[in-house]
Symmetry: C2
Subunit: 220 residues, 2 copies
């Protein structure tokens, strides 16, 4: 009996896992292109080739659960790349630029590894522009150990800034990084002429800009 | 006969102008909240209280024409504020921070003058995230004389940067400014706690950050 049921169970598991993957891919692209609010679970199910319009609900639950699952799919490899960078810095006298590189490069290297076209940067930009999803995704991100080490590293290297300026620069840095990556990703995907041709070049400019933003004199 | 037709014509003109205004207001809010792509002309007509679903088409033409009309409605007072700031700088030895203030403050002062809640910053963020509308709105903006004077002023004060770095910093600065203003606007509208309580405080932090971004050393 065991040998008879195991293959059938595996087949069912494989099929469920393929369906989940198809839904994640379709949803990421639709959310990236049209915004999370604008896309219904029904449209995602259809785009994923599911005859059953309730497929998203069955496999993921709510739309928030689906957004979290897409983010998680990328957060895992990005966190792994970040761990490697953090490990490589051990014993070095790391400065602000090193820590900002540990923030930016795992993201841009992940986008490089996915191969053009990607939708993750545009998906992230849409998610971060929605306060409810932004909170959920940020809460999930703050459970990633390497990311926390990097954010603490950046914090240690900053000049003595008033608390509210730190908060504002966090917001501005996040908007600069996420929305510029989204714009670059769209240009790379659509073949629009840009001054940069790959993510590694883009990353260098982003790191310089973020360091400049964080170190800017406070006039207020 | 003339005295008989004139009032009726005026009434018709007034009514048309009220309808146009109602459509602009409804569309700005819907586009700001849900994105330009996600909202149909029919939804705009309904939200503007127009029984006729073709009202947007009749009064504005295409969706692009409607987006341009909303942008124009704000660009006129922003340009006027910018003209005043540029005029006040005449004869002074203006530096980068002065020119960046001429870029940012007319926008934040306009948002202050509109009174909370506003939707324009979120509308602009949605428009700038869509390549087609971004191009159209940018082309329209580059006919505004005071804006051009300010952009040239910023350009003259920059260190000697490679051409591609200038282009990248333009993109990063625009994303920082527009998406941070959109996030602040949403927080002010929804009463979310923020480190800043008004646009003038926000503007000071934005100007510092943009100056830091523009002056950041180039490592590449």
């Amino acid at each position: 009996m065991t040998t008879a049921t195991t293959p059938s169970r595996n087949t069912r598991t494989d099929r469920a896992s393929l369906t989940r993957e198809a839904i994640l891919t379709a949803a990421e692209r639709l959310f990236a292109e049209h915004g999370v609010f604008a896309v219904s679970n029904r449209q995602v199910s259809e785009a994923a080739g599911q005859g059953n319009n309730a497929a998203v609900g069955y496999h993921f639950g709510t739309k928030t659960d689906l957004v979290r699952a897409i983010e998680h799919k990328h957060a895992v490899p990005v966190e792994k790349l970040r761990e490697e960078r953090v490990a490589a810095m051990a014993g070095k006298d790391a400065g602000l630029r090193d820590w900002v590189e540990c923030l930016v490069l795992p993201l841009t290297d992940h986008l490089t590894a996915l191969g053009n076209p990607t939708w993750y940067a545009r998906f992230a930009a849409q998610v971060m522009a929605d306060p409810a999803y932004q909170q959920t995704v940020t809460r999930d991100a703050l459970t990633l150990p390497a990311l926390i080490v990097v954010l603490e590293g950046i914090n240690r290297c900053l000049p003595d800034l008033p608390g509210h300026v730190r908060v504002e620069r966090n917001i501005m840095g996040r908007n600069l990084l996420i929305h510029t990556c989204a714009e670059y990703e769209r240009a790379l995907a659509e073949g629009t002429p840009l001054p940069l041709t790959n993510w590694r070049t883009a990353a260098s400019g982003l790191v310089d800009a973020l360091v400049g933003l964080w170190l800017a004199p406070v006039t207020r």
